[in-house]
Amino acid sequence: MAHDASTHHDDHDHKPHGFVNRWLYATNHKDIGTMYLVFSLVMFFLGGLMAMVIRGELMFPGLQLIEPEFFNQMTTMHALVMIFGAVMPAFVGLANWMIPMMVGAPDMALPRMNNWSFWIMPFAFTTLLLPLALKVFFDIGGGGPAGGWTLYPPLSLQGGDSVAFTIFAVHMMGISSIMGAINIIATILNMRAPGMDLLKMPVFVWSWLITAFLLIAVMPVLAGAVTMLLTDKFFGTTFFSATGGGDPVMFQHIFWFFGHPEVYIMILPAFGIVSEIIPTFSRKPLFGYKAMVYAIASIAFLSFIVWAHHMFTVGMPLGGELFFMYATMLIAVPTGIKVFNWVFTMWKGSMTFETPMLFALAFVILFSIGGFSGLMLAIVPADFQYHDTYFVVAHFHYVLVTGAIFSVMAAVYYWLPKWTGRMYNERLGKIHFWASAISVNVLFFPQHFLGLAGMPRRIPDYNVAFADWNLVSSLGGFAFGLTQLLFAYIVWDCSRNKSLAKATDQVWEGAHGLEWTLSSPPPYHSFTTPPVITDSMLAHGNVAH
């Protein structure tokens, strides 16, 4: 593993010294990216702990571990923590680390705002978790929110003081996401090095550009919805109360106008990551680069016109149900293009199966399973059967765990040698992959059977007819949870263990793009002056055209 560190090392001198200067006042995109990723990992384990409580309770029929009210708090908080605390910050962390290096920029466009975007997060999650923590550790108050992460009124408004904490936390998370998105768009549109035209950018950068526009479009909508919840709860308005002329279904429409694009906010960057990894380990350029970019843009557009498929059963005109059904099914077209192009990138490639590639391949297969069950849910008459059952739980966990989270793990294994300058332990990485891939299917696949058999979601107890598959699912859940401790160890080991093999600048034989021209680890400030891009530095297209 030869290591060529010929460029930029003098920049290490500018690294701020001392914990407060380096981290609290951080403006460096790599430091902020690292903080996002560490925060995400902490939240991943916290949300995972809640999942273990849920699976522990559901392991057997009857109530054994916790009260139903606390179970509802666990399902609500698990979702909020995983969506806003684990998945989204993980992608923002990856964006912070990689986008400036991929487009040839010295840093993010607005470094101080970047600092704000991150440091709002710990405060937001302290606020969100405080009512639950006070109840669990000191038996103070009524605990955390228990009305589900969708915060549907009137149920969510019956939650006592935790409602105010949750709404304030959601506002702060929204502000953080919006500022992060603005920063990412400004960086990509304005900070690219000369020669890095839009249609020469890595697909990961494209996926984030589109995701950032989605965030800007829908986060204010969520903010508006929860502000109306707040005034309904504490200031006597009746936006969502029929008694005062309001309409609770209106909340569902507004929420899902945010919520469905939010689903794509959590999966489009994953598409970008997989589109980076598969060409590298197939040693071929990405098949259909432009089609991939247009497919991501198409999915983003369609995400705005499908929201009501989450609420077919609330009652709506037949024309509405047909529109939302067909619009939802349309999403399968650009998604199919992406899966086809990933497969054709691999076709006749010189493939090797290092850990990032294994996770990327698992993503393609398992995310497709989640996609197919999504298609089933899009069919209106079928959805009347599946709605609010464990089939839905199985569907979105295939999309979010074996989709989004597997892609984050693939990305971490892919870029960790670049970040740390050391190769992680490949043998442990492969063990982590296989243990995760097997246990996650033991965990979630039986939930399809449970849902089809009629087991409702969000319940702490169930009919004994569902006992066997719940036991299997729980055992898979505990195995998956334990396996992730290995992931944390591998990352920690790679960042600390100086005896590991040094990474080359290119790291992976088939890797192409500006980020791989920098040393491993990269200098503290990446491109202090814009690099002159040559054909060999581009993963897509060439300078002349």
């Binding site: 010295p106 400004a186 900070m191 000369p194 508006g224 040559t534």
Partner: protein, 42 residues
Amino acid sequence: MITTDRSELDHRRAAAKLTAWILAGVVFGIYGLFWMSGVLGS
């Protein structure tokens, strides 16, 4: 491989700030629209 021209970078940073302000305006616009729709609709 590296140019020494920093003035272009300064121009890019200024343009980025303008982009950010325009996007912030869009955010507040959308927030206001949804608020207004809620106020008028109820």
